[in-house]
């Protein structure tokens, strides 16, 4: 507060347009504090409102998933709180012979794990190379990737489908097929981690090279330990993406129900099947997918924030 008291009661402001010197009264400090309190209260009200809007759908989702299937049917209803809480829907997902949910979950988990490993290796190789190594054709590669990135992804879908079909990686082979197309072009998403590598001082590499280290040793022993945040960010992104992919997954696994991923399976429950009967089951499945992913994400939130802010700043 001492700083504020030093401000003179009357400020002198030079008005450029009229060319005169005006005196401006400082606002009363006490009323300023009151004003501040009112503003803060307003902000709190807004933030609570925002939180409610943002959380409401998920809370509703959880409520619906606990509704009793036996007594209240599986459709959409006009009330929020279940009249009878039960685990019917979850039990059905796990136990019913008609439910492929566990299989789908396993498929997606498998895809996500493979992607997390292979895609991370791909992305880190590309971004490290483009950031820290200088060679002929580097600029060309970056421009080609930029241009390729402007083509819509689904344009190539049918070609990819037939390429995979030639390799026997559709329908029954959808899982390895999907892993292949997810990781094959993943090197193109190098921007964020390149931005990170750019910030590590070059002198580190140089001094190691003078000490006789090869480029490979520099990469493995010096840069990688420093790059832990971006490695975690890349793994996190690679692991999360397959859980939400509907388009490619539904196209590649078309018609082969045991080889769906969760997104395709659950989407078909609400949109293709009679969704009135499957709605609460969809909710239960959604909760089972969302909870572990959200927990993982919140645990690693710090790295995600570093990644997106870095990426946005460098473009």
């Amino acid at each position: 507060m001492s700083k504020k008291n030093e401000i003179p009661e009357v400020d002198i402001v030079i008005d450029e347009q009229k060319g005169v010197i005006r005196e401006v009264k400082q606002p009363n400090l006490r009323s300023k504090a009151g004003h501040e309190r009112r503003v803060n209260t307003g902000i709190y009200i807004l933030l609570v409102l925002i939180s409610v809007i943002w959380l409401a759908p998920f809370v509703f989702l959880v409520f619906q998933s606990f509704r009793s299937y036996a007594t209240e049917d599986g459709g959409m209803v006009a009330y929020l709180l279940p009249k009878q809480w039960s685990l019917d829907n979850y039990r059905w997902l796990f136990n019913d012979p008609k439910s492929n949910f566990l299989r789908w979950y396993g498929n997606t988990l498998l895809i996500a794990l493979f992607c997390a490993v292979i895609q991370t290796v791909m992305v880190l190789s590309v971004s490290y190379t483009l950031s820290r190594l200088r060679f002929k054709g580097r600029k060309l590669i970056m421009n080609v990737v930029l241009v390729l990135g402007m083509f819509p992804g689904f344009l190539t879908m049918i070609t990819l489908y037939f390429l995979l079909k030639q390799l026997g990686l559709t329908q029954q082979g959808a899982i390895p097929g999907l892993i292949l197309i997810y990781v094959a072009s993943s090197g193109m998403g190098y921007y964020i981690s390149k931005g990170f590598f750019d910030t590590i001082p070059k002198s580190l590499d140089e001094s190691a090279r003078i000490d006789g280290a090869t480029r490979f040793q520099v990469f493995l022993k010096i840069i990688m330990p420093l790059a832990k945040p971006i490695v975690i960010y890349t793994i996190l992104m690679a692991f999360m993406a397959p859980w939400g992919d509907y388009v490619f997954a539904s196209y590649v696994a078309f018609g082969s129900e045991p080889n769906y991923n969760v997104a395709v399976g659950l989407y078909r429950w609400v949109n293709v099947n009679d969704y009135q009967g499957y709605f609460t089951r969809f909710c239960a499945g959604g909760v089972l997918v969302a909870v572990p992913i959200t927990a993982l994400f919140l645990a690693l939130q710090k790295y995600y924030v570093e990644g997106v802010t870095g990426g946005a700043v460098k473009g």
Partner: protein, 493 residues
């Protein structure tokens, strides 16, 4: 107009001046880009020319080992003791020859017609003729392979010339062991990029090239291999999609394009400013529980979109939670047409997209806001600026300066924002006014998806893909050079 004149303008004329400068600059920027592309091609052809000249002079001046390498790849390398390289060259040539003889030549030969032998039925048996799809696909693959071979062959010849020069100057050639070592050192970029390049070539470049070619064929539901052939039709598909007579898609296309641009504009800027606002509120001095507010918003990023968007879409359905709730309160008697009225549907997707987008922007803005030097605000406060003035003169210019490139990528990203539209409205409401199965909330990209999956109208989907690319490319070209201008000093005053 010089800087001093500019500063004398009032707020509105400043804006007008900037807008005028922006639009009058567009042709110049496009011309500049075309010129750049032209220069690139000139450079490419010059490079090819000098490579041909090199080939000639190497053959004339080279020794017999080099001359034989023109026919048998890798011979020179082996003869000079570089076994590793030599064997690789030779293997590549063998594989290429085998591929061409058994496979490639046949497909290349049919590429100009895409097959002539029709599939027909002989009694109960179907006799398969040519398959246009595979002819095109493998034809393109073979072309890629031929290019790769030519390049490798050139490298093989160049290798010989360089080796000869090194030997002449009395130095030793690198052994295979040295080569392997250098792959972990001087040539490390080759090791790291090998796999990603292969992946991108086969699974991105090849398919894109293939689909660009499909745009010039009549590959659609009535020309489906293997039972039917398709063939080249030139620019017909472009005409069908763009011209505005009744049988064409021109009117629908322009409507969908317009909506795509409107959508991208709102999805980018509404989210940007609202997200920034939320970030400013959370980061304001004196607000407690900052981490909790942030976590609540961030949770929505973590939950897979197909769960959250599908659920929200059902909430807004005619029999969904919101309509039934409002009806029970007695506020409305018939369900609100969230997904059935064009205007309602468009507004609804934009609003729900704000719900999706704010958390991302809040995170990005938080990171940047923390970097704004606090003394800027301090001195502004002493000068008597109020909160809004400080926002306009300090926060906003700083944010725009730092996030310029992000805004551009996010705008093109929103043009291709498939998930939100597909999971929320699926492009509905449909209408007889629109042709080609398009709906009022369909973006170009979701329309493309419909054409591919439900209509199997691949030729138009391919044309649409090319047009989406052009739209994105033009926007990038126009805006990209603008971004450094944001760095203009005066914006920071």
């Amino acid at each position: 107009m010089n800087d001093l004149d500019y500063l004398k303008l009032t707020g509105f004329s400043k804006l007008g001046y900037k807008l005028k400068k922006f639009f009058t600059g567009i042709p110049g920027r496009l011309a500049g880009a075309l010129k750049g592309l032209g220069l690139w091609f000139v450079k490419l052809f010059r490079g090819i020319g000098s490579a041909l000249a090199d080939l000639g002079s190497t053959f004339v001046h080279g020794d017999w080992k080099t001359k034989l390498s023109y026919l048998v790849m890798g011979f020179g390398s082996c003869a000079r003791g570089q076994w590793g390289r030599g064997i690789l060259f030779f293997l590549f040539q063998t594989v290429f020859n085998l591929y061409m003889v058994n496979f490639g030549v046949a497909y290349l030969g049919k590429l100009n017609t895409l097959g002539t032998i029709e599939t027909y039925r002989e009694g109960r048996k179907t006799v398969y003729g040519d398959n246009s799809f595979f002819i095109l696909l493998y034809g393109v693959l073979t072309l890629f392979f031929v290019l790769a071979f030519l390049y490798t062959w050139y490298m093989n010849v160049k290798q010989n010339r360089v080796s000869e020069q090194i030997l002449k100057s009395g130095k030793k050639l690198k052994s295979t062991k040295d080569d392997l070592k250098s792959l972990m050192d001087e040539q490390f970029h080759k090791t790291l990029l090998a796999l990603p390049t292969l992946g991108v070539t086969v699974f991105t470049i090849l398919p894109i090239f293939f689909m660009i070619l499909v745009a010039f064929t009549n590959f659609d539901a009535t020309h489906q291999p293997p039972s039917k052939l398709f063939t080249w039709v030139g620019w017909d598909n472009f005409r069908q999609l763009l011209s505005s007579d009744n049988a064409s898609y021109g009117n629908t296309f322009s409507q969908v394009l317009l909506w795509t641009l409107i959508w991208a504009f709102f999805a980018t800027f509404l989210n940007y400013f609202l997200g920034m606002l939320v970030a400013i509120m959370i980061n304001k001095k004196g607000i407690k529980l900052k981490k909790m507010w942030r976590t609540i918003l961030v949770m929505t990023i973590a939950i897979p979109q197909f769960v959250s968007l599908l659920y929200v879409s059902k909430m807004f359905a005619a029999d969904g939670l919101i309509n039934s709730f409002l009806m029970r309160l007695g506020w409305i008697s018939t369900p609100l047409p969230f997904w059935t009225d064009p205007v309602w549907a468009r507004v609804t997707v934009i609003v729900i997209n704000v719900w999706i987008g704010i958390p991302y922007l809040m995170l990005i803005a938080t990171g940047i806001l923390m970097n704004i030097p606090a003394d800027l605000y301090e001195s502004a406060r002493i000068d008597g600026a109020n909160a809004f003035q400080m926002y306009k003169k300090i926060t906003l210019p700083y944010m725009l300066f730092v996030t310029g490139p992000y805004l551009l990528t996010s705008f093109t990203g929103n043009i291709n924002n498939f998930n939100v539209i597909f999971l929320l409205s699926g492009g509905k409401p449909l209408s007889l006014e629109l042709s080609g199965n398009a709906g009022y909330t369909d973006l170009l990209i979701t329309w493309l998806y419909k054409m591919t999956v439900s209509d199997t109208n691949y030729k138009l989907a391919a044309v649409m893909g090319i047009l989406v690319f052009l739209v994105c490319a033009v926007i990038n070209l126009i805006v990209y050079n603008m971004i450094p201008s944001v760095k203009n000093e005066e914006d920071f005053q």
